[in-house]
Amino acid sequence: MTLARKYLNAILRSRKLLIQTLLLCFALMIFTPFLMIVLRSVGRGWFGRLWLPPELTLDWYRWAVEVTNIVEITKNTLVIALLAVLMSTVIAIPTGWALGRRNIPGRELLMSILLLPRMIPPIAFALGVAQIFYRTDLINTHIGVALAHVSICAPFAILILSATFEALDERLLEASGVCGANPIRTFIHVVFPLILPGVLASMIFTFTTSYNEFTLTLMTYGKDTVTLPVRTYLAIGEGYWEVTSAMSILLIIPSIIVLFMIQRQVAPEKLVGGFKGV
């Protein structure tokens, strides 16, 4: 009894160690699924109660590349994501400016209306989008799929940008004017550097949203616009888990590279929309 208490006390005293262990368990919980995919994709004859695959092979990757046109799918996904980012930013800059800098009666209400697409389950309006797109021949075009993505990307871009523009200090603009800068110079040397982080954050956010979007893509894709998530879904349906794993690893690489590049530019929390007001 006393011994047990002694141990308990010792554990409690080394709190730092305890917390480190807890965090490590957490990291394991997040990363082991990916490790499983990697192992599955390089293992052969991994049956029964074995911890590790008995034989290593790259055959599944060869299969994956032969069966799926990886290059084409990556290109589709990137083109669609870039189009969605472009359109959302073009839409969000003026709207965000108006919402952030001008006194609009009922601003809160307007904002919640614009954010409504994020509140309703995407599948509900994806059905409508699909029907409209079938009628207007936008199904199976890059621009069509990107437009479908804009419906949920734009609201968040507007939210981030309006917060960015609202934070601009009026006095800085005035000071620049007093110092003799014309509006264009003020914009280039004062406004632009101040809003750049916000605009970048919004673009990155839209990019990841579009890159990972599944519901709206599934409703509007065709054989020429298969994207990464849709291809993974189809592969899971085909049932060859080894090949599916290899394919997922190949398909996830671009997203990891993009993430690695951007996480230095912007606080990674921004990616989830963990900014104030949400």
Binding site: I19, Q20, L22, L23, F26, I30, F31, T32, P33, M36, I37, W46, F47, R49, I91, P94, T95, G96, A98, L99, R102, I104, L114, L116, P117, M119, I120, P121, P122, I123, A124, F125, L127, G128, V129, Q131, L147, V150, S151, A154, T208, N212, F214, T215, P229, T232, Y233, I236, G237, S245, S248, I252, S255, I256, Q263, P268, E269, L271, V272, G274
Partner: protein, 283 residues
């Protein structure tokens, strides 16, 4: 006179600036919603006539109640599990120990990689031959057979939690880091032990942040589609039920639309209640 002219001009410019956002909203959200609504009121495959048949048939099925209940159980379960995970995690991360930045990145990983790939990994990990079951058989007494986790409701809640907890974790962590250390010190000086400080000071102070994050997690979990589609097995929440209607030929667009409208209305009602409760000061 001149003033009124410039005011009108100001309003006009504001409207012009707002128009791209409003146009997007109406063309890509409102109009599709209206199309879904109209479709749900039309007889299957026809362009004219009105009927409530699709709502009635779906709601009259005994399965309808099951499906709706399942959707709620899954999303509320995911919210609760996420809260239980986020509080200790936030408290641990607040200390800024070694590899702090790494753990912060870890926290948002599930939201950044495509959800389907995450789900695939989880299916492999929790499968009957996955590491979790091997671990349980090897180290936990009385477990000799693999436990089925995939394709069960607790398993689904686990998957949802894995995918959607970052919303709550982030708001919780932000609130914890924003806390004034003086408050906790004051409680400490007043003689509260560590548990009492946590229970009576820290938790009440971060509750609003947890609730704000839980709204996001709830919305995401309620509308979750990819996870239950591949990992749900026979358990089909509303979103999968909708997709099943149009997955095969002949596609039943009207039936799918009716279910989609029910889903949207349910979510709006639930969120309105939730927000009401949130606004009330928590005592």
């Amino acid at each position: 006179m001149l003033k009124r002219g410039s005011k009108a001009r100001f309003i006009l410019i504001t409207l012009l600036l707002l128009s791209p956002g409003l146009l997007t909203f109406f063309l890509l959200f409102f109009y599709p919603m209206m199309v879904t609504l109209t479709r749900s009121l039309r007889p299957e495959g026809e362009q004219i006539g009105w009927t409530l048949e699709h709502y009635v048939t779906f709601l009259a099925e005994p399965r309808a109640r099951e499906v709706i209940l399942l959707t709620f159980v899954l999303s509320i379960g995911a919210v609760l599990c996420s809260v239980l995970l986020s509080i200790p995690l936030g408290l641990a991360l607040r200390q800024k120990l070694r590899a702090h930045r790494f753990y912060r990145l870890t926290m948002i990983t599930p939201r950044v990689v495509p959800g389907l790939i995450g789900a695939l990994g989880l299916l492999l990990l929790f499968g009957s031959r996955g590491w979790v079951n091997l671990f349980l058989i090897r180290f936990v007494p009385f477990v000799n057979e693999p436990i089925s986790i995939n394709y069960t409701i607790p398993g689904l809640i686990l998957f949802y939690t894995w995918l959607y907890f970052p919303f709550i974790a982030l708001t919780t962590l932000a609130a914890l880091e924003g806390l004034d250390p003086a408050i906790e010190e004051a409680a400490d000086v007043a003689g509260a032990n560590r548990w009492q400080v946590l229970r009576h000071v820290v938790i009440p102070l971060i509750t609003p942040a947890i609730l704000a994050g839980s709204v996001l997690t709830f919305m995401a979990a309620f509308g979750a589609f990819s996870i239950p589609l591949i990992a749900g097995g026979n358990h089909r929440p509303l979103s999968v039920e909708i997709y099943r209607q149009i997955d095969f030929t002949p596609a039943r667009w009207s039936a799918a639309s009716a279910r989609a409208m029910i889903m949207a209305v349910l979510q709006v009602i639930f969120l309105t209640i939730y927000m009401r409760v949130l606004r009330r000061p928590i005592t």
